[in-house]
Amino acid sequence: MKTLLRLTNIRIISQVVFLGLFLFTVWASWTTRIQGYPVSRFLEIDLLVALSTTLSTGHIYRFLGWSILLLLLTVLFGRVFCNWMCPLGTLHQFSGWLFNIRSVKERQDQNRYQPRQVIKYSILIILLIIAAFGTVQVGLLDPIALLHRSVATGISVIWDFVMSVTSFTHLQLAPGTTERIFTGSFWIGLVFVSIIVLNIWHPRFFCRTLCPLGALLGLLSVFPLFRIHRDMKLCTDCDLCLTRCEGASSPEGSLRLSECIVCMNCIDDCPENALSFSLPPHVSTPVSPVPDITRRHFVFAGLIGLIGFPLIRSNGKSNDANYSPLMIRPPGSVAETEFLKKCIKCAQCIRVCPTNVLQPTGLQEGGIEALWTPVLNFNVGHCQQKCSLCSYVCPTGAIREISVTEKLGFGKFKQHGPIRLGTAFINRSRCLPWANEIPCIVCQEVCPIAPKAIQTYDEEVKDTFGNLVVLNKPFIIPDLCTGCGICQKECPVTDQPAAYVTAVGESRSQERRLLLRYRTNPEES
């Protein structure tokens, strides 16, 4: 009993609990399961997400205030988050531990401080500067966002593949649907698998060298109330504390407070009981609170951040000069430049979408700035009418939280009209009734608007075989169309659908508006 209640064991329990909670949020992010669960809470306590979106927008959205808990935890106890709560950290530690066959001496060498550990601070500075200018790119490397995205679009594919041979529908991530696809899942999965596998050669490589959240928490750990304390009178300089040091924080010398991730392993490894996690005593061992950032690092990182932003922005894809017709954002999204100030590419919306229509963008739709942000791909699915779950799970408000009544424009939202994702068009040179005298009209059949936004010119013609056929030739009423995309999804010309939706006419942007007047709702602005 005595040996079981050690802090390292509690830490392991805590890691398991939080990883379990994380996997639970992944499992629960599904239309029938989500109910009231706070499935984006990990992202909402992520301090880096809160800080960068505050820098870019000037406001703190919805539940992002919960990150103050993390702030409090860090200024009091140091980087406890990294080794006690962060699920990605747990995965790194686990994969590093599982295949670790080194001897004691090799382990100690692996855990010595490396100068390259300062890179994460440069990364942090670059990301924060770019965020201040108006585009949030933290999602590319933020551990929680990266983990959510990788699991939602990369690992889920692997899991679904395995689950497809079983019928454990309760364990399936998307029960009752055909196999889900995610564009770009290869690259997302590759990044994830690479950083996990890297732990075999360099333990906690991501946490020590790349993680910007870790860097931020490290900067905040300079005056902790509790820290690792080495009693110099008891210490024999055996370096055994380095054997399992996760943070490479030099516990055998001047403890680097910004690197220590409070794994408590050094306490267990010291045969002299010289190490403890406590309030600093009267006479304290020397510590290096501040990381080894030099002015050079600072200036170079700053410069890269400064020139990075205009370079990213200048392709015109995020403002209206050159926007892609495929850049169709989820319902409730804010206008594009605002969207990019908020989206952390966490793929929560992609995960929860019941029809699999949300996909991470590639480089085509928005360039590198919008890489892996969510867009709707109507060849894969359509936007389910009575669903606004994507807006419910978005932690930063890139997709503003809306009710279904607001999405469809009923009740007190009647004046605003429905939220339009884009506008549908009929390509008459590919549409079967228009181009080939073959009856069809699936698009009108599935249009969910009342009255239907697709009406027809009904004509009876004699086709080339001499048969009289009734042709219903569809045309779109753009005043009614909300861009839900079910016409594109169901159009039988499946490779390049005759009924297709493009981004023009979306209601989130005044500049991308199509119609002068909405003849069915004159009050709509």
Binding site: T31, T177, E179, E445, V446, A450, P492
Partner: protein, 341 residues
């Protein structure tokens, strides 16, 4: 660099020679046999034309789910009443009572229309109230072993079952919902069909089922005129079923012979008069008090077209005539119909 002392001495004698020759001939002989032996030989992997590599999907056929009834009982029953359960009782009693069709121990599949995520008042999907009453009757009065409810909707299946209220009603009554996924489909053979002789069908809920009942709403349809009992079976089709709209009347006629259900029930409590099949406006719905139950889908559809959708008898949809020709039923319902108010 290995030391010469560590190397084991290797004696090369006849035994070694034979061992090596045996090894080589087994490997090469086996491989040669697998690749070159004629295709009908056992374990031959030869595929000269490539025909053997084409996967043959698993196929199945549907049994006839109909029940032989004593003569003299009308085939179609119409029940009018203010309450759902009253209507259903009257309609079923008119054709002999539900116990004639479902016996104790039967595994029953109910096929409602759950195609869209509409709320039940909009008349675009089957009424959850009717399903609840029917399932209870099947489980309690008929002592059926299991009642499954399945459909392959156009929109997201999970959302559709929840928003139509059907999931809640079915689970409350004791039934089980079956959702479709990628592995639930198999090729169904329907000899005599023109378009769906061999087509993927929602197979999994049909495994072990002994009785099938279709429960359909009565709806206007923009392409084929009306969507009622026969069109309801469209929901069992998988694959690229959006191609069939190029000849919609023929596919519906095929549906009438694809499956021979035990019973079909048409719900005339909320009739979608316009803007079908999706509806969307409560003004398109006409509340009424009829349920039609029977074994001849073609006649029931014809009756509902004239009496419920209030359309002209001379303008019956073409698929009814095609279905009659194919043998799915007979349009003329006189002498086979009994109305109970």
């Amino acid at each position: 660099m290995k030391n010469n002392d560590d190397v084991r001495p290797n004696k090369f004698n006849r035994r070694e020679f034979l061992k090596r020759v045996a090894f080589a001939s087994t490997i090469c002989g086996g491989a040669t046999y697998l690749a070159w032996a004629p295709e009908d030989y056992p374990f031959s992997l030869k595929d000269f034309t490539g025909a053997r590599s084409i996967p043959e999907p698993q196929q199945f056929t549907l049994p006839d789910y109909r029940v032989t009834l004593p003569t003299g009982i009308p085939e179609i029953g119409i029940g009018r009443d203010k309450t759902t359960s009253g209507r259903l009782t009257k309609a079923l009693d008119a054709i002999g009572g539900i116990t004639q069709f479902v016996q104790p121990g039967d595994v029953v599949l109910l096929k409602p229309n759950v195609a869209f995520d509409r709320s039940p008042e909009l008349g675009a999907t089957t009424s959850p109230e009717l399903l609840e009453v029917l399932i209870r009757r099947l489980l309690i009065d008929c002592r059926a072993q299991e009642v499954r409810v399945a459909d392959n909707p156009i929109e997201s299946p999970a959302d559709c079952f929840v928003k139509t209220g059907i999931k809640k009603a079915v689970e409350k009554a004791g039934g089980r919902i079956n959702l479709p996924d990628g592995n639930a489909f198999r090729i169904l053979q329907t000899p005599g069909a023109e378009l769906i002789r061999s087509w993927p069908c929602f197979y999994r809920p049909l495994i072990g089922v002994t009785k099938v009942i279709g429960v359909a709403p009565v709806k206007d349809h923009n392409l084929c005129g009306a969507s009622m009992g026969i069109k309801n079976w469209y929901g069992l089709l998988g694959g690229q079923r959006n191609q069939f709209h190029q000849d919609i009347h023929t596919i519906i006629a095929d549906l009438s012979i694809m499956i021979k259900p035990t019973l079909t029930i048409l719900d005339g409590s909320k009739i979608l008069m316009r803007n079908g099949p999706t509806g969307g406006d409560p003004a398109y719905v006409k509340p009424w008090d009829v349920i039609v139950a029977g074994t001849d889908q073609v006649a029931m559809d014809a009756w509902a077209f004239v009496n419920l959708l209030q359309r002209d008898e001379s303008k019956l949809p073409q698929y009814l005539y095609l279905a009659e020709k194919k043998g799915g039923g007979k349009i003329d319902a006189s002498n086979r119909i009994l109305e109970v108010s």
